[in-house]
Amino acid sequence: MSIANINQCMESGMNSLERGDSRNQDCDQSVRGQLNRFTALATVLGSLFLLNGCATSVGEVAAWPVTNAEESALSGTVVDVLCELNGNCAENCGEGKRQLAIKTESLGTVLISKNLTNYSGAADELWPFCGELVEVNGLFTENKGIRFFQAQNIREPGGQWKQTTNYLQAWSNRTGQSRSLAEDWQYHDPRVKAIIERDGRLGLGTDADNDYFK
């Protein structure tokens, strides 16, 4: 089924709705199947980028398939967001336990939500620079009214770039597991494993998982 067919089916469905008829079931199922295939393709592409994001050279910005992404650089002071908001400050910006931002002159306080490694945030990358000036580059995105920055490289002003991959060593230190396991830490994290074991992969309990994955 082509995109044109999908559009045709959607239009047909909308027309049927406007007329008060029931929807065309064949079209509905075809469109759903096609959308599921698109979703699967997007997932595979996204996952490939997640796995290969680190392949870029130090200092360069990798092009992840992020909606509205713009390659960008920021410079400013590393701040603890909670501290900025209500004066509730922690030593060394919480040492990786609090969400951190970069306070810039032009854009205000920009939350740094992502680093360069799989499924991980930026607190471990930023807290060593707590209260200091830094430069970061990466991807800026604004979608659904939310402004996000993925920092891929970080440096002191004018210094050497370093990729934002501190998380892997930090995870290894926290969990006592090897650095090599940290490359796909999400499969080995004890807390994650415990939650999945208890609630299942759908979050609906182990019985629901057994029914769905059989």
């Binding site: 759903r32 599921n36 979703t39 699967a40 997007a42 997932t43 595979v44 996204g46 996952s47 980028f49 997640l50 992020v66 909606t67 992404a69 967001v81 909670l82 501290c83 900025e84 908001l85 209500n86 919480g94 990786g96 336990k97 609090r98 969400q99 854009l107 205000g108 306080t109 920009v110 939350l111 939500s113 992502k114 490694t117 799989n118 499924y119 991980s120 945030g121 930026a122 607190a123 995105t141 979608n143 659904k144 009214g145 939310i146 402004r147 996000f148 993925q150 998380y167 999400q186 994290d189 807390r191 994650v192 939650i195 999945i196 609630d199 992969r201 759908l202 979050g203 609906l204 769905y212």
Partner: protein, 183 residues
């Protein structure tokens, strides 16, 4: 201030006001005469200014109902549309991202607004907070304090009023996203 000064009528209060005027004149004259006091006054002014700046965000007490989400996948749409990366289809990935320290959000059921969670029931650990991991994909009604800062809305959750569990059964339509989250 003007209103409060105008409302002063008693002689005692007028006396206090006169003393305040004299003190202010003394401070101002010192500012121009005494270099040490000038520096001190500048430092006091600047520290007061920056202290005010650092807690400039406006806070509001709210009660909100919504799904606990993985904000990175929701905003970036790196794994598909926002509908695909919420609910049961994306539960494992949401737990991974929360464990990895990506900000956990609360997606308001009413207006689609996303609140970035900074503290949970008095615990200021918002990165990989174990309680937040366990609540991913669930629909909660919470009470807390919301702050607006430079285009984002942050939320300190004070209390979970109710937990409806995972009711957004997206796996029925989209399967498991991403595929690596399958057994």
């Amino acid at each position: 201030m003007i209103l409060s000064i105008n409302s002063i009528h008693s002689a005692e209060a007028m006396g206090t006001l006169a003393r305040m005027k004299i003190y202010l004149i003394k401070i101002c004259s010192d500012f121009f005469i005494n270099p040490f006091r000038r520096t001190l006054l500048k430092a006091m002014f600047l520290s007061t200014f920056f202290a005010t700046q650092s807690i400039a965000a406006e806070a509001s007490e709210i009660t909100v109902t919504g799904e606990m989400i993985d904000t990175w996948c929701y905003v970036s749409q790196i794994m598909g549309s926002s509908e695909v990366v919420t609910g049961s289809a994306h539960h494992v990935c949401a737990v991974w991202c929360a464990a990895g320290g990506i900000p956990v959000g609360l997606l308001d059921k009413e207006d689609g607004k996303v609140y970035m969670i900074l503290s949970f029931e008095g615990d200021d650990t918002s990165v990989a907070n174990e309680k937040l991991l366990a609540l991913q994909s669930r629909e909660l009604t919470v009470k807390g304090t919301a702050f607006e800062l430079d285009g984002l809305t942050y939320l300190n959750i004070d209390e979970v009023v109710s937990d409806q569990g995972i009711i957004n059964l997206t796996h029925e339509k989209y399967g498991i996203v991403p595929g690596q989250a399958r057994p």
